[in-house]
Amino acid sequence: MSFEIFFNGPNCSGCWRCMLACSFAKKGSFNPLEANLFVTVDGPEAKITFTQSCDGCGLCADACFYKALEKVQIKEAS
């Protein structure tokens, strides 16, 4: 089953759990600035950037407790 990762910016708390999970899984150590995504929260504003290395594995969404990142299923063409 395939999915897309949906970013719900207003829910993001800036906790970096997504970046921690990604870097630990992909780079072998906790290193948010080397993760395949980067989240910035500046007051009311929140932004997310996925690097080209992102393989869409969804670990970032699995790590999120705030429903800021969610895996949304894609209906596949039959």
Partner: protein, 623 residues
């Protein structure tokens, strides 16, 4: 070792020099890291004769082995120094924001700061360079404004610890703020940093942080994550933060202004906020319960209340001591003892008055200079004339939990007794103790005590042979040990998160993350070593861990416990709801010291206790 960044940075502000050291592995093992190692390093760096605001005092800032990992709520940052208000060597803790993680990603677990810079500076820490930068342009600015400016330094993100004008002007109850949303330093850490001409510390880095045994780390964390996800009140805590337990304002009012929940790095139960008010004004709160605190004092408009707290935060003032000083100041004016020297009337229910006096205190203008002494300073100045109108103080600080305090919890549990027995002085740190919540039945205590790591053999001493009594003093010993454990690992001590951790889990995570073999018994011994060393550090100066030698129950004048704690309007016994008596409190203090293995009368650690912990009487390591 995993979990640790590996280096400790020593900064001499007087000489403008830096030195990196790799501490012996044994030191990490003995003191766990984080808070524990902060205390060890502070004991080594601060002479017993060092005055809080002298160059000889040191500030040790550190983050534990889990900080920077994804262990839930493991972002805690500690500072240890000789504090301005209590004059004891005390700890200051902050949720941590992202400062702790970024300090570790820069390669450092701890920073030891000594001396005094010749002019205002800020310390810049990265993985490739350490520097002291000119802070002339920041001096005179608020803590939040300073954080915003330094946060825009290129090559970020940056974690920022900053002081406001109150710290610059050595107000004894000034604090440092960490990433705008965490307080660091009830007791006057702001003044200590101000005395060193150190406006801020900023850190950034991109070194990875490894754990020793990935597989074991994941296996230990999995059930912890699941238990948090399945917690039925998680969404409510996330929505309301501390307002869930301290509803100082209606939920609807709060939600109307809340723009975003802010969490420290790795925390699933964040309790900081970005709030928006009319005119697109944005305020970052340490917690909503703090932000609306002036409502408790009679300020009716929640927006005005929040603006007062935002101002206090920016100035870098401890809001609880501020309110204590203003309440006392108003009473002194009414009694015609204090002359405000042309200043505006003190009205704690008026946002305008509160804001005016906050600025005067932080800048030490007019009568604000007197109020800058806090409750204890006013007592020193007018105490003899003031008599009954003096608010309580403990170790030179306003105890903000208890009868007549802003948090009027009246049952005398471990946190309440801890206000008198923590060398630091009054603070709120529940440390997982079941007495944090009122009227819990004793039947649930064994489960909570097991979670905190209380050994089975201690249960009869705490709960009686039939589980039908409660020794608050003996329980506090284990509450402090649990706090020292969490703090040394880097886990938040707040009730809404530490409820998910257990002592057994902590031993397992610590071992998996660091690679240091650790049983629960090892963890207990190391936490006891940390807390006993802190007691020793203060015993040398003051004669006892509570700041002054105290007398045994029913004998002599006893320690400086506030008279307001006793009598019909004072604290109540946690179990019986009967008014707490002074003798009961003294017995609890003696029990606490006995359970620690310290002299029940003086609170000085006894030789057998020191030997078991591998310390000598001066606090040096024996092993």
């Amino acid at each position: 070792m995993g979990g640790f960044a590996g280096k400790t940075l020593f900064v001499d502000l007087s000489k403008g020099t830096f030195e990196e050291r790799q501490l012996p592995d044994e030191l990490y093992r003995r003191y766990l890291g984080g808070l524990g190692l902060c205390i060890r390093l502070a004991c080594d760096a601060i002479a017993p004769t060092a005055e809080p605001l002298s160059p000889e005092n040191a500030v040790v800032i550190g983050a534990g082995p889990l900080v920077g990992t994804d262990a839930p709520a493991s972002s805690r940052v500690y500072a240890v120094s000789r504090l301005a208000q209590s004059r004891t060597m005390g700890w200051c803790g902050a949720g941590g924001g992202r400062f702790g993680a970024l300090l570790k990603y820069a390669g450092y677990d701890h920073v030891v700061i000594t001396g005094r810079a010749a002019k205002p500076v800020y310390l810049k820490i990265t993985q490739s360079a350490i520097s002291l930068e000119d802070a002339a342009g920041l001096w005179g600015k608020g803590a939040h404004q300073t954080t915003e400016i330094l946060g825009r330094t290129p090559c970020g993100p940056w974690g920022v610890v900053a002081i406001g004008q109150a710290g610059e002007n050595l107000v004894p109850y000034s604090m440092a703020f960490l990433d705008k949303a965490s307080t660091l330093g009830r007791g006057g850490l702001g003044a200590v940093l101000g005395s060193k001409n150190l406006k801020a510390v900023i850190a950034s880095g991109r070194k990875g942080l490894a754990v020793a045994d990935k597989k074991a780390y994941r296996a230990v964390l999995r059930p912890l994550m699941n238990s948090i996800r399945e917690y039925p009140h998680l969404a409510e805590w996330q929505e309301l933060g501390l307002l869930k337990s301290l509803p100082v304002v209606e939920k609807e009012v709060y939600l109307a202004h809340k723009k975003r929940r802010i969490a420290c790095v790795s925390c699933p139960v964040g309790d900081k906020d970005v709030m928006e008010f009319p005119g697109a004004e944005t305020i970052c709160s340490t917690s909503a319960a703090n932000l609306f605190l002036p409502i408790i004092y009679g300020v009716k408009d929640p927006v005005q209340a929040a603006r007062v707290i935002a101002l206090l935060d920016d100035l870098g003032l401890d809001l609880y001591e501020f309110f204590g000083a203003l309440v006392f100041g108003a009473r002194l004016v009414d009694a015609r003892i204090l002359d405000l020297a042309g200043g505006p009337p003190i009205k704690v229910d008026s946002a305008e008055s509160l804001a005016a006096w906050a600025k005067k205190i932080a800048l030490r203008q007019g009568a604000g200079n007197l109020l800058a002494g806090g409750v204890a300073g006013l007592k020193d100045a007018f105490g003899e004339k003031a008599g009954d109108i003096c608010p309580p103080t403990v170790k030179g600080m306003y105890p903000y939990v208890g009868p007549g305090a802003p948090l009027p919890w009246n049952l005398f549990g471990t946190m309440e007794l801890g206000q008198a027995l923590d060398p630091r002085g009054p603070h709120v740190a529940a440390s997982g103790s079941p007495t944090y919540f009122a009227r819990r039945p004793l039947s649930v205590f064994p489960k909570h005590l097991a979670r905190m790591g209380v050994p089975e053999e201690a249960l009869p001493r705490i709960l009686g042979p039939d589980n039908n009594s409660l020794s608050v003093g003996r329980l506090l010993k284990y509450s402090h040990a649990w706090f020292a454990t969490l703090g040394s690992l880097g886990v938040c001590a707040r009730a809404q998160i530490n409820r998910f951790y257990s002592h057994k889990l902590c031993a397992q995570i610590y071992e998996a993350a660091t690679g240091i073999k650790t049983s629960q018994e090892d963890l207990r011994r190391r936490a006891d070593r940390v807390w006993t060393l802190l007691a020793l550090a203060n015993a040398g100066e003051t004669g006892a861990s509570d700041g002054k030698a105290f007398q045994p129950p029913k004998g002599g004048p006893g320690p400086d416990l506030p008279t307001q704690w006793f009598g019909p309007a004072g604290f109540k016994n946690y179990l019986t709801d009967e008014p707490l008596t002074r003798d009961e409190a003294l017995t609890m203090m003696a029990d606490y010291h006995s359970e620690q293995g310290w002299d029940p009368v003086t609170g000085t650690p006894l030789p057998e206790c020191l030997k078991a912990l591998g310390l000598d009487s001066s606090g040096k390591d024996l092993e």
